[in-house]
Amino acid sequence: MTTHAMNRRDLLLLAGTTALVGAASGPLDLIRPAFAAPKIGAGAPAFTLPDSNGKTHSLAEYQGKTVILEWTNHLCPYVAKHYGTENMQALQRETTGSGIVWLSIISSAPDTQGYVEAAEANKLTKDRKAAPTAVLFDPKGKVGRSYDARVTPHMYIIDAKGSLVYMGGIDDTPTANWDDIKTAKNYVRAALGDMSNGRPVASAVTRAYGCTVKYDMSSS
């Protein structure tokens, strides 16, 4: 009985009120300084960073080439999964061998996990038989934040025109289990395949899984 009365009242007021009330009320929340998410198809954020050999690299100088960005932290178990199985190195050799630029970027702040000095970075590359074009340092995390890089590994592909064509995970199996690589679908390889066939990248945004990037919290 009372429920019916409620409904009738609701009906009477519905026409004028539903939408308004939806829009009305509720305090305005402040958004936390959020990531400026880069957009697929838009120009990739420009950057200039030093590498482990004292050379600087800017995205602009690679105009005309496909560029792969790999956010990394050698102590993260998810990164260890892809280096320990040589999965990452294989992809690096495969891509750089065909003229693609591979930039591994370390956004770990000093005193956080994954932060390394140049010598250690070069030693890691040598010991792990890694084959990136360069290992770049972003200790302030500015470039990482401009790309909305959240985890390691977080992968990005920029096409020859400088547009972002892929961002997300290395593959589709979000675990730390080394055995899973055998059955996982590698998104980066798939995206590169699409690109070389002149197709738009089918999975352009995927879930990046791993450890959080150890950003410098004071500069957020």
């Binding site: 939408a19 939806g22 509720g26 929340d29 178990p77 959240r150 675990t175 289990n177 959080t212 919290m217």
Partner: protein, 737 residues
């Protein structure tokens, strides 16, 4: 009383990790201790009958500063996984995930658990499992523990249970399972809808008793990664018969559906109560989505299709929509009367020079446009500053809503002829007659635009949703197009004198029309007061209505002293000023959610669940005197926790059966509108509000107080214990010693 006091402590006891006792039972798995976690696999009971279900818990005790993850870990991380090795005839179900906590890490946000994580898994034993054959259970468990850094850990577990009747395990185990179940999301009968607008998604949930006014905190956790941006704020708003939660779309959005867990913290008299609810929201239908079309609006103004459309429509189309929308605004009950007066003034002064009339039209349009430009600028600035602002943002402030209600009331009174503006001219629309009244026309434009805003939200959804996702210049253009559409009809009248001549001649009809047009304005005022009732509850309504009385009184005073001497006039006008200031002061401090509306007494026959009688202390005393077992449920229509408890824990067939089997009389008290008898009982249990659940055993035993958050198994346990009352008391004593 002393007994009751002990029982109240019951929920707190649940939080103590009572695990030492577990080691004594040989069948139970050895705990696995890693650097950051101590993990146990705990069966709810030592035996399971063939054909029955045994609940097993993966319990992770997590080192301080570390956490593990929910099924969707959020920005990073990985949920625990269990790989079972089970004999033929035993089948493991999915992990039942307790609702997670948001775990911020810098700019990122994860969903997970700190302190401890309780994962329940059902194991079903086949009907044909041989009687007496032990059931071996083996599991390989892995989890990721993270603080600043992450470490994958894991271990192997082995345990064996019998096929003996699976009685409840010892109390600490029962308490742990109870605790886990209280954190599981419950199914509700609520309806959930999803709206998309640009990068925003709005979840709307409606259901009986679901009132946003009582909710202190709301958080939505999606099952799927990437559909909601974890770190973006979620804005809770009241909605008809429920609430809405505005969130930011994730990286891999799904505009069709949103599944997950809604965690609500309800402010009750005895403190906040948190509970999680399963949500399966589908995109709202396409009806009501077309821009500017006066179709029935969906709960939040823009349907899903509208959101999709917003993403697709081009700038030109958005501008067109905005102009059409602006045109339609002229017909809104908030605007039409004001505009009509303006048009009538035109008719009355049709003899004026066409140029003068045109200039009035231009001044009016300028007023409209500047008002829209200011609103657009404000929105763009808020947006740039990171505020989660949407159209209608001004209406989020109850004080603003109240002042708008005053404004409509005032305009209505003016049209009714209760008072005149400008000392005896013919009101709002008549400024045109005054010499140099262009500023009057300008401000009429401003006024018309201001009064239009409450009507704008539902109809402007698409165009404005689009505008707000665009660059500032495009946003501004869309808003100005809206203004152009809005100003167009009047502008047309002033520029094409032939049109004015087409309108009826001036005459007595104008006065009658004017008086009639007051009513849409009163209706608008009434509607805004209703909005207030949702935002602030009865207090805000009283403040606004009292304010209106004051305003009417002030106006009357103003009119009365018009012909008095200078001193009388000063006195009267001061009185008017005081009345108006008082009216504004009344509503200035209105906040959201002070008290919600309190509808629906809950008395009557519930659709399912045990039969109940209306509570009265007399009836309770009589039943107790007769030595009958009684269950008392004190509830209120506005208490979400109460209604959900009834739904998930008190309405089940098993509970109903137990009530009947034990001959328990179920008394339900409705505290929706207060009731001194109920208040007295609440106070006798040291409570200041609902819910209250008391179980009186047969005979003169002391009553058992159930916690505020019920689960079916908790109620069944309590009912089972009712007969063995002495045993319970002994346990309770041991627990609290």
């Amino acid at each position: 009383m002393r007994r009751a006091g002990q029982a109240i402590r019951f929920p707190f006891l649940l939080t103590i990790p009572l695990l030492l006792a577990l080691a004594n039972t040989a069948a139970w798995a050895t705990p696995v201790t890693t650097d950051h976690v101590t993990a146990r696999l705990i069966p709810e009971s030592a035996g399971v009958r063939p054909g029955g279900t045994l609940w097993v818990m993966l319990h992770l005790k997590i080192k301080e500063g570390w956490h593990t993850y929910w099924r969707n870990p959020g920005d990073s991380g990985e949920p625990p996984h269990i790989r079972w090795t089970l004999p033929q005839g035993v089948e493991a179900g999915d992990i039942q995930w307790p609702y997670p906590d948001p775990l911020p890490y810098g700019p990122l946000l994860n969903y997970g658990y700190s302190g401890e994580a309780l994962h329940l898994v059902p194991l079903r034993l086949a009907q044909d499992w041989p009687e007496g054959k032990p059931v071996p259970i083996r599991a390989k468990v892995g989890w990721l523990a993270c603080s600043d850094i992450c470490v994958p850990e894991g271990g192997d577990f082995e345990l064996t249970v019998t096929t003996a009747e699976g009685g409840p395990a010892d109390e600490s185990t029962a308490a742990l399972f109870q605790k886990a179940r209280a954190r599981l999301p419950v199914k509700t009968g609520w309806t959930a809808g999803l709206d998309n607008a640009g990068d925003r998604i709005v979840l709307t949930v409606a259901g009986d008793g679901l009132n946003a006014g009582r909710i202190e905190k709301a958080a939505f956790f999606p099952y799927k990664w990437g559909v909601v941006e974890p770190s973006a704020p979620q804005t809770l708003r009241p909605a008809p018969n429920g609430l809405s939660l505005e969130m930011t779309r994730g990286q891999t959005p799904d505009s069709q559906r949103l599944d997950g867990v809604l965690v609500l913290t309800e402010a009750l008299h005895d403190g906040p109560v948190t509970r999680a609810y399963e949500i399966a929201a589908l995109a709202q239908s396409e009806k009501g989505a077309a821009a500017g079309a006066p179709a029935p609006a969906s709960a939040s103004g823009t349907g899903n299709a509208a959101g999709e459309a917003a993403a697709k429509i081009g700038v030109l189309k958005a501008l067109l929509f905005a102009i059409v929308g602006g045109l339609i605004l002229n017909l809104m009950p908030c605007v039409f009367p004001v505009l009509s007066m303006k048009a009538m003034a035109l008719i009355r002064h049709a003899e004026q020079a066409p140029r003068t009339i045109r200039l009035h039209g231009v001044a009016y349009a300028a007023g409209v446009l500047s008002c829209f430009a200011v609103l657009a600028g404000l929105l763009i600035a808020l947006k740039a500053g990171g505020e989660a602002a949407g159209w209608g943002f001004q209406l989020q402030s109850p004080a603003f809503v109240a002042v708008m209600a005053y404004l409509f009331f005032l305009l209505g009174l003016n049209l009714s002829g209760f008072f005149e503006i400008g000392g005896g001219a013919i009101g709002v629309g008549d400024r045109l007659a005054a010499r140099g009244g262009y500023s009057g026309s300008y401000f009429t434009g401003v006024l018309a635009a201001v009064v239009s805003t409450p009507c704008t939200a539902p109809f402007m959804g698409v165009a404005l949703g689009f505008a707000l996702t665009q660059s500032a210049p495009v946003s501004l253009a869309v808003f100005l197009a809206l203004g152009v559409g809005f100003a167009l009809p009047y502008l047309l009248l002033t520029f094409v004198p032939a049109l004015v001549r087409r309108l009826p001649r001036p005459g007595a009809w104008m006065e009658r029309t004017r008086q009639f047009l007051a009513f849409p304005l009163y209706a608008s005022a009434a509607w805004l007061v209703w909005v207030l009732s949702i935002q602030t509850g009865p207090d805000g309504v009283l403040a606004a209505l009292a304010g209106m009385v004051l305003i009417a009184f002030g106006l009357w005073l103003w009119n009365t002293v018009r012909d008095a001497g200078p001193r009388g006039r000063l006195l009267g006008r001061s009185g008017t000023a005081v009345a108006v200031v008082a009216a504004l002061a009344l509503v200035a401090g209105l906040g959201i959610g002070s008290t919600p509306t309190a509808p629906q007494p809950a008395a009557g026959q519930s659709a399912s669940g045990p039969k109940y009688e209306r509570f009265s202390s007399e009836r309770l005393a009589a039943l107790r005197a007769g030595g009958k077992p009684v269950f008392v449920n004190m509830t209120a229509a506005w208490c979400i926790t109460c209604l959900v408890n009834e739904r998930v824990a008190l309405s089940s067939a098993a509970v109903t059966e137990q009530f009947e089997a034990q001959g328990i009389t179920y008394l339900k008290g409705d505290w929706t509108n207060g009731d001194p008898e109920i208040t007295a009982l609440l106070e006798s249990f040291g409570r200041s509000g609902v819910p209250l659940y008391v179980l009186y055993g047969a005979g003169s035993t002391t009553p058992t107080l159930l916690p505020q958050l019920l689960t079916e198994s908790l109620v069944l346990d309590a009912l089972r214990d009712l007969s063995g009352k002495t045993k319970i008391t002994a346990h309770t004593n041991r627990r609290s010693s």
